[in-house]
């Protein structure tokens, strides 16, 4: 089976093509094909996973096939199957199948149904190809196809201006990061002459890369991660991307595309290990993103925006985990997060499907109307706030433990604060949506549970959200899937875990107390802390800052240049020259009038004849020019032959 691992990305790709061209005539407009292809990929992945578990398949294993030659360099394509890739394969194909099943119900009567599923399939195949890639080139291809697909999917409802703008923003912002990634790729090829992961690892092991070069490469690659995984300076696109249909948000912004950025760091970990400063940068970017996004989520009103910011925040955790040396912790959190965040997004989709609004303040008490959604959403929430025993608990504990263990105490505190905020905003969202009283009677009355195609994926996803941690958290399993050279994994004291758990609980309690007991108190608090509230509501004015820093200055610069052109260039140079010319001509006319009056006729005559002569040259007749040009060319060649060509 393993020699046919390339089928995993290939099947969804074929499905995408089939749906594109023949979707009209296929069952369920082609959606069935996409789902089946994805399920088969999932089956193959699970089969491989089983083989890994019972030890018949040794990891990592690599297969290489020649692709094309350019000069001396031979490019290959191939499959590299190692622990992280294995886990991600299962996660991506499984979640994607569920999301496609869910979409059948959710997109039910949307226009361009067929195209939607083609994009989903293509997107899945790109992500799977990226995960299986054994070289950076293939990785980059998958990465870019995903970028394009995310653009199509985010602006899927392009009739609305906001959706189109969001797609543009996501595309352009991630492009900024990709620029760095691309530069990094070029640097790698310049330094090592290969894109192959194993060969690069060997080079790194032999010390063929100087620490400085490694740092440059690592930071450039990290630019790609910042863009794709929505880390701090470039996180702005992800909340806007919520304009896309909810299954898209679940697929792109929970399980796959943003995970690609984290996966990139994991794949390039060798470079980062050579450059501790770069690792430090990674850790701090992750930490800042984690707390930063969590604070914004506290003030968001849109249920999808809350989840979006929480995604950014959790991605920050993963990046931070990788940055402080917790390789397995970061990837572990990536896996668990994929499951429960997909669940939460799909749950949110189910809610929106029922009440036709995103605003949490217009919901309330929905647990009575949407029981299945309620319970599954509850499980997802518990996993996200790392309630004891859920999958999120184990992975987040590991990250925080790694932060403490590697002596990043400040990051540890930030992490704990983030955990507190996470619990707080999730409790807030949960209470506003499901508990309390129904604030809009009409919506409440019309809300009803979603169809089976939507609820079944929720139930299926709820299982790993709760139990995945139990299966994977033992050090042996983690070592099997996320093997790493040991990096000062000092045993941290027990209280480290308890504090983290406690901060989560605190958030849970405070949030519950506030939003379940009295909403008036919440409003009072919002008034008291009005400036902060306003700041958070406006997302720290980041968009406005970017507008002011980058977009406006460009306009200003253009205006300034135009002013300069008009006032300086025109006034001083052009008019000045004009003045000088006038002066000169006055002098000349004086001389003409008074000194060379006698020669006027002669001058006029000669000027006229010179002009006529010059006029002869410009015949305005193309072939005449051509004749002269070819003659000159032949003359030049002959001259070269005569004077230079003597060997």
């Amino acid at each position: 089976m393993v020699e046919h691992a390339y089928l995993i990305p290939l099947l969804p790709f074929l499905a995408a093509i089939l749906i594109f061209f023949f979707g009209r005539w296929l069952p369920v407009k082609g959606a069935l094909i996409g789902i089946i292809a994805c399920l088969v990929s999932f089956g193959i992945s699970v089969d491989l996973l089983m083989q890994v578990m019972d030890g018949t398949l040794k990891l990592p294993m690599e297969m290489r096939y020649p692709w094309f030659d350019v000069g001396l360099f031979q490019f290959e394509w191939g499959v590299l199957l190692d622990g992280p890739a294995m886990v991600l394969l299962v996660a991506v194909s499984g979640i994607s199948s569920l999301i496609q099943i869910y979409s059948v119900g959710y997109m039910h009567d949307a226009p361009r149904f067929k195209r939607f599923f083609a994009y989903l399939s293509l997107f899945t195949s790109a992500m799977l190809a990226l995960v299986l890639a054994n070289n950076y080139l293939q990785f980059f291809i998958g990465w870019e196809i995903m970028g394009a697909c995310s653009y199509f999917l985010i602006s899927f409802e392009f009739e609305r201006d906001a959706a189109g703008a969001a797609g543009n923003k996501a595309f352009l912002t991630t492009r900024l990061g990709d620029l760095g990634f691309y530069a990094g790729l070029l640097t790698i090829f310049y330094v090592l002459g290969t894109f192959n992961f194993t060969q690069i690892a060997a080079h790194l092991h032999d010390g063929n890369v100087s620490p400085h070069m490694a740092m440059i490469i690592a930071l450039l690659l990290f630019c790609g991660t910042i863009g794709k995984s929505a880390q701090f300076p470039l996180h702005v696109w992800l909340p806007d991307a919520m304009e896309g249909p909810t299954p898209v948000s679940a697929l792109i912004h929970a399980a796959t595309m943003v995970a690609a950025g984290v996966f990139l760091v994991a794949r390039s970990y060798g470079f980062f290990l050579q450059a501790p400063q770069a690792l430090e940068v990674v850790a701090w970017v992750g930490g800042i993103t984690a707390i930063f996004a969590a604070t914004i989520a506290v003030a968001a009103d849109d249920v999808k925006k809350v989840l979006a910011y929480s995604t950014i925040s959790q991605l920050g955790y993963m990046i931070m985990g990788l940055g402080v040396g917790g390789y397995s912790a970061g990837l572990f959190h990536l896996t668990t997060h994929a499951a429960f965040k997909a669940l939460l997004f799909l749950g949110a989709g189910s809610i929106i499907h029922a009440v036709h609004t995103n605003d949490m303040w217009k919901m309330g008490s929905l647990s009575k109307q949407l029981p299945t959604t309620f319970w599954t959403f509850l499980m997802g929430t518990l996993a996200l706030v790392s309630f004891y025993g859920t999958s999120g608990y184990f992975s987040k504990e590991m990250i925080l433990g790694a932060a403490y263990g590697s002596h990043h105490y400040l990051l540890y505190v930030i992490g704990c604060a983030g955990a507190f905020l996470t619990s707080f905003y999730m409790t807030r969202a949960f209470s506003l949506v499901f508990l309390g009283e129904a604030r809009e009677r009409d919506r409440f009355a019309h809300a009803h549970e979603s169809p089976l195609t939507m609820t079944v994926p929720l139930i299926v996803l709820a299982v790993p959200s709760i139990f995945l941690g139990w299966f994977m958290h033992s050090p042996e399993t983690l070592a099997k899937f996320f093997p790493m050279e040991a990096l000062h994994e000092a045993a941290e004291p027990k209280w480290v875990g308890y504090v983290a758990l406690g901060s989560g609980f605190a958030g849970l309690l405070i949030g519950g107390a506030l939003y379940l007991r009295s909403l008036t108190l919440v409003e009072r608090l919002a008034q008291i802390f009005a400036p902060i509230h306003k700041l958070l509501k406006n997302k720290y004015y980041i968009d406005e800052i970017y507008w002011a820093l980058f977009v406006r200055p460009t306009g200003k610069l253009a205006q300034g240049l135009s002013w300069f052109d008009f006032n300086v260039v025109d006034r001083i140079f052009v008019d000045g020259f004009g003045w000088i010319a006038t002066l000169w001509s006055k002098i000349q006319s004086w001389i003409d009038d008074h000194v060379v009056d006698g020669f006027v006729d002669g001058t006029g005559w000669s000027a006229m004849n010179l002009g006529a002569l010059a006029r002869r040259v410009q015949t305005g007749f193309v072939q005449n020019y051509l004749l002269v040009i070819t003659m000159a060319l032949v003359a030049m060649l002959m001259a070269m032959e005569t004077f230079v060509g003597k060997h």
């Binding site: 015949t619 193309v622 072939q623 070819t630």
Partner: protein
Amino acid sequence: MTLSLHHFLMLSAILFGIGIYGVLSRRNILGILMSIELMFNAANINLIAFNHFLYPNQVWGQGFAIFVMTLAAAEAVVGLSLVLAIYRNIKSVYTEKLNILHG
């Protein structure tokens, strides 16, 4: 007498010369384009002849000839659509009518 490389080269030289004459002397833009095709073909004859007589075990010359043909096709397509555009605008395909740059 047996065929030697210079026979083919001389033929291509003549063809090239005829092409040059056509380019320089035809009034009609279409005539110029056709003469350019003649010159392309002269070059192609040279490429194939060198390949055949000097490097008979390789096909690089033929590969280049294929590229020349492809580029000739591209040139002809763009050139002819330009001719049509010109014809639409000035209702003529004679070069001396295209003299608005005349000094």
